[in-house]
C-alpha cells in the first residue's frame, strides 16, 4: 500500500469513527440534562410518572454511554495512530484541553456509577438527584474541551513557527481561539436539542403504537418544550457561527454558499445544482447571505474566486449546510406548532400524521448533527490545521490502514446493531404500565 492509499484510508477511517462516535456522544451530552429535568419535575410535583421517566431513560442511557465510551477510546487512540504528525504538533500546543477532558470523563464515570446503583438508597430523593449533577457537568465539559481542540484546528493560534520549530507556545491563548465561543456554544446547544427530540420521538412512537398512557404524553410534551427552547437557541448561535466564518474562514462560508464573486447584498442560495460553475434551480433569498455573514443587508461577502484554487474546500459542502439549516428551521417550526397546538387544544396535533412527524424529529436531528460536523471538517480541507498543516502531510506512513478500516467497520456494525437490539428488548420486557404498578405496590409495602 502506497502513502497515497494510507492517506485515503486514514481519512475514511477517521470519518467513520467520528461519525459513529458523535451519535452516541451527542446523546451522552444531552440526555443527562433531560434526565435531571424530568427527575426534578417529578420530585417537585410528586409525580411518579416523571420519576419513572428519569429512571427508564437512565437505563437506556447506560447503554449509549457504553458505546460512547468505547468508540471515544477508539478515536482517542486513532488520532495518534492515523495522524501521528498532526498529534505531535497538536500535542505541543493544544494538549491541555485534551488532558482536561479526561478529568471530565473521570468525574462523569465515577458519579454515573454511583447514580445508577443508588436509586433506592436515599430517603430524600433530592440527594439522589444531586448525584446526577456531576454526571451532566462532566458530560457537557467533555464536549466543551474536545470542541475546543476542534476549534483550534479551524483557527490555530497561541504559538509561533520559526524554521519549522514551535516557539512561544501559550496553551491558554490556543484554547481561547476565535472559533471557540461559537463552536462550543453551538455543539452544546445542538446536543441538548437533539437529545430532547430523540426522547420526544420515542414518546410519540409509543403513543402511535397504541399505548395511550399519560406517561408518554407527559414525556412528549416536556421534551417538545425543551426541544423548542434549544432549537431556537441553535438557530441563534448558528447565525453567530456564520458570522465567525465570514470573518475567520471566509473560504468555508463561500464554498458552503456557492458564492463565487465578492459582492454586496449577497443572496443566500438554497439547494440547486452546479452546472459548469453556474448555479441552477436554486432558491435565492436576496441579501440573506450578507445578513448571515455580517448582520447588515448590503455588506460585502468575500467570494471563492479570491482564494488560491488549491485552498478551496469541496463544493458539495453546500448540501451539508443546507440540510443542517433546513432541519434546524423545520424542527423549530414543528416544535412551535406542537407546543402552541397543545396549549390551544388544536385537534391535529394528536393526529396520526402529526405524531409521525414528531417521530421523525429524533433521527432528523441526528442527521443535522452529522451534516454539521461534515460541513465543519470537510469545509476545512485541504487543511487539518488551517493554514499550517495540510491533511495530506499529517497522515500516517504505515501500511495496513485498509485492513484496519475493514475491522473497525465490522466493529461499528456490531456495536450499532447490538445497542439498538438491546435497547428495544430492554423496554419491551418491562412495560411502563407494569412498572408503574410495581412501584405503586412497592410503595404501599406489599413487596419486601
Amino acid at each position: 500500500m502506497g502513502n497515497g492509499d494510507s492517506l485515503f484510508f486514514s481519512r475514511v477511517l477517521t470519518e467513520l469513527t467520528l461519525s459513529f462516535h458523535i451519535i452516541y456522544a451527542t446523546i451522552g451530552v444531552g440526555v443527562p440534562l433531560m434526565i435531571m429535568i424530568a427527575q426534578w419535575v417529578g420530585i417537585k410535583k410528586q409525580d411518579e410518572h416523571y420519576i419513572l421517566l428519569a429512571r427508564r431513560w437512565t437505563r437506556g442511557f447506560v447503554i449509549t454511554v457504553a458505546v460512547g465510551v468505547v468508540t471515544g477510546t477508539a478515536i482517542g487512540l486513532q488520532l495518534s495512530l492515523l495522524w501521528p504528525n498532526f498529534m505531535e504538533l497538536a500535542g505541543n500546543v493544544i494538549a491541555l484541553p485534551l488532558f482536561m477532558e479526561t478529568f471530565a470523563f473521570f468525574f462523569e464515570a465515577i458519579f454515573l456509577g454511583i447514580y445508577i446503583y443508588t436509586w433506592d438508597r436515599f430517603k430524600n430523593q433530592k440527594k439522589h438527584l444531586l448525584l446526577l449533577i456531576p454526571v451532566a457537568i462532566g458530560a457537557s465539559f467533555s464536549a466543551v474541551f474536545i470542541t475546543i481542540v476542534n476549534a483550534f484546528m479551524s483557527a490555530p493560534q497561541g504559538f509561533d513557527l520559526v524554521n519549522g520549530e514551535l516557539v512561544n507556545v501559550s496553551p491558554l491563548v490556543a484554547m481561547f481561539n476565535p472559533a471557540m465561543p461559537t463552536k462550543v456554544a453551538h455543539v452544546l446547544v445542538t446536543a441538548y436539542m437533539t437529545s430532547a427530540f430523540v426522547l420526544a420521538s420515542i414518546g410519540a412512537f409509543r403513543l402511535l403504537k397504541g399505548s395511550d398512557h399519560t406517561y408518554h404524553k407527559k414525556a412528549l410534551f416536556l421534551m417538545m418544550k425543551l426541544g423548542l427552547i434549544f432549537s431556537i437557541a441553535t438557530a441563534v448561535i448558528g447565525d453567530f457561527s456564520g458570522k465567525y466564518l465570514a470573518q475567520y474562514q471566509p473560504e468555508k462560508l463561500a464554498a458552503a454558499e456557492w458564492h463565487f464573486e465578492s459582492e454586496k447584498g449577497a443572496p443566500l442560495i438554497l439547494y440547486g445544482v452546479l452546472d459548469n460553475g453556474e448555479v441552477k434551480y436554486a432558491l435565492k433569498i436576496p441579501s440573506a447571505l450578507s445578513v448571515l455573514a455580517h448582520g447588515v443587508p448590503n455588506a460585502e461577502v468575500t467570494g471563492l474566486n479570491e482564494f488560491p484554487k488549491d485552498e478551496v474546500p469541496p463544493l458539495y459542502i453546500h448540501y451539508l449546510f443546507d440540510s443542517m439549516v433546513t432541519i434546524g428551521m423545520g424542527m423549530t417550526a414543528l416544535a412551535l406548532v406542537y407546543v402552541i397546538g397543545t396549549w390551544r387544544k388544536w385537534r391535529f396535533v394528536v393526529s396520526k400524521w402529526f405524531r409521525w412527524l414528531l417521530v421523525l424529529g429524533g433521527p432528523l436531528s441526528i442527521i443535522a448533527i452529522e451534516t454539521g460536523w461534515w460541513l465543519t471538517e470537510v469545509g476545512r480541507q485541504p487543511w487539518v490545521l488551517r493554514g499550517i498543516l495540510r491533511t495530506k502531510d499529517a497522515a500516517t506512513t504505515s501500511g495496513h490502514v485498509d485492513t484496519m478500516l475493514l475491522l473497525f467497520a465490522c466493529l461499528y456494525l456490531i456495536l450499532g446493531v447490538g445497542s439498538v437490539v438491546v435497547l428495544i428488548r430492554m423496554f419491551r420486557k418491562n412495560s411502563v404500565e407494569q412498572e408503574l404498578e410495581d412501584r405503586a405496590s412497592e410503595k404501599a409495602g406489599d413487596i419486601r
Partner: protein
C-alpha cells in the same frame, strides 16, 4: 525534580493504576467464564458482578488518561508509537470495545448468553497480550527507520522469545492479581464458597506469575544488554518485591489477612514496576527516543501539571465516595442492600 521526571511519574502512576484495576477486571471476566464452563458459575458470578458493575467505566478512563497524558507530556511519542503501533493498538481497541460494550449489554440490557460470557472472558486475555506488545517494542530492535519514518518489523516481533515471554507474563500477572483481589473481596462479602475457590486460583497462579517475571529478566540479557545491566543494578528493588510476594502467598496460604495480602501484592507490583521503569530511563523507545528529546515545551508542561493537580483535587474525593459506597460498604458488598441498577 525536573519537569520531565514529574511528567513521567504522573503517567507512571496512572499506568500502574490501570494495570491493577484492569487486571482485576480482565481476570474476573476470565474466572467468570471459566466457572461457567466448569459448572461452578453459581459460586462466582454474583461476587464478580457486584464488584465490577459500578466501576467498569472508571477502569477505562485510567487507560484514556494514560495515552492522552503521554501525547501531552511527550508529543513525539505520538509520532513514533503512532506510526508503528497501528496494528497491535487497533486490535486492542477493537477487543476493548467489544468487551466494554457487551459488558454493558449483558449487565444492564439483560442480554444473557453463555456464548457472550465466554467471549467476554477470552477478550480479557487477548487484551493484555496485545497491549503488552507496546512494552516489547519499547525495548528496541523491532523498529527501524526507513526514509526517516519509523517502521515496525512484525515478523521479528512475532517470532521474538522476548515478546512471547512478556505476553505470558501479562497473562499470569492478570490472573494472579485478580484472584488475590477477589479472594479478599469475597471474604469481605462473607461468601465462603467463593473465597475458597478464588483462594485456590490465587495459589495456582502465584508460581507462574513469579517464574515468568524472573524469565523476562533472563530474556533481556540477550535482547537488550544495556537494559539488562541497569536491571541488575536495581537488584535490591526486585529482592524487596519478592519478599512482598512471599508475604502475599503466606497470608493466602494460611487463610488470613486477605486485605493485607492484597496490599502486599500491590506493593510487590509497584516495586517491580518502579524498578523496571527506572532501569528503562531515559529511553521511551530504545534507542530512538528519550524522555528529554520527546518532552513538550515548558509552558505546556506547567499548564498540564497545574491541570493535573486541580484535577486530582476533584477526583480524589469522588473516588473516595465511590469506594465508600461500594467497595467498603459492608451492606452493599454482602449483598444485603437491594441496590439494583436504575
Amino acid at each position: 525534580m525536573t519537569l520531565e521526571i514529574l511528567g513521567i511519574s504522573v503517567l507512571g502512576m496512572f499506568l500502574f493504576g490501570y494495570i491493577i484495576v484492569a487486571s482485576i477486571d480482565f481476570g474476573a471476566g476470565f474466572f467468570n467464564a471459566f466457572s461457567t464452563v466448569t459448572g461452578k458459575q453459581h459460586i462466582l458470578t454474583k461476587i464478580i458482578h457486584r464488584y465490577l458493575s459500578p466501576v467498569w467505566e472508571v477502569t477505562n478512563v485510567f487507560l484514556v488518561f494514560f495515552f492522552v497524558g503521554m501525547v501531552g507530556f511527550f508529543p513525539k511519542t505520538a509520532y513514533y508509537y503512532g506510526t508503528t503501533l497501528l496494528v497491535p493498538a487497533s486490535i486492542a481497541i477493537i477487543l476493548l470495545a467489544i468487551r466494554g460494550a457487551y459488558y454493558a449489554f449483558t449487565t444492564y440490557g439483560g442480554l444473557k448468553h453463555k456464548r457472550y460470557t465466554i467471549l467476554y472472558g477470552l477478550t480479557g486475555l487477548f487484551i493484555p497480550a496485545s497491549l503488552s506488545s507496546v512494552l516489547t517494542i519499547s525495548e528496541g530492535g523491532f523498529v527501524t527507520m526507513e526514509k526517516a519514518d519509523p517502521v515496525l518489523d512484525y515478523w521479528a516481533l512475532f517470532t521474538s522469545p522476548l515478546s512471547w515471554s512478556i505476553v505470558v507474563l501479562s497473562l499470569t500477572a492478570v490472573l494472579y492479581i485478580s484472584a488475590v483481589f477477589l479472594t479478599w473481596y469475597a471474604n469481605h462479602a462473607k461468601d465462603e464458597a467463593a473465597t475458597e475457590l478464588l483462594r485456590k486460583y490465587a495459589l495456582v497462579w502465584a508460581g507462574p506469575a513469579i517464574i515468568t517475571a524472573a524469565g523476562i529478566i533472563v530474556e533481556m540479557k540477550g535482547h537488550n544488554p544495556e537494559h539488562y545491566q541497569r536491571l541488575l543494578d536495581l537488584w535490591w528493588l526486585f529482592a524487596l518485591s519478592v519478599v512482598l510476594f512471599a508475604g502475599t502467598v503466606y497470608c493466602i496460604w494460611k487463610r488470613r489477612a486477605y486485605g493485607l495480602a492484597f496490599g502486599l501484592l500491590v506493593g510487590q507490583f509497584a516495586l517491580a514496576f518502579l524498578a523496571y521503569g527506572a532501569s528503562h530511563y531515559p529511553y521511551l523507545l530504545y534507542p530512538y527516543l528519550t524522555l528529554y528529546d520527546s518532552f513538550t515545551n515548558q509552558s505546556m508542561a506547567i499548564a498540564l501539571v497545574v491541570a493535573f493537580i486541580a484535577g486530582l483535587g476533584l477526583l480524589i474525593p469522588s473516588l473516595y465516595l465511590l469506594l465508600r459506597l461500594f467497595l467498603f460498604n459492608k451492606e452493599y458488598v454482602e449483598g444485603n442492600r437491594n441496590d439494583e441498577h436504575a
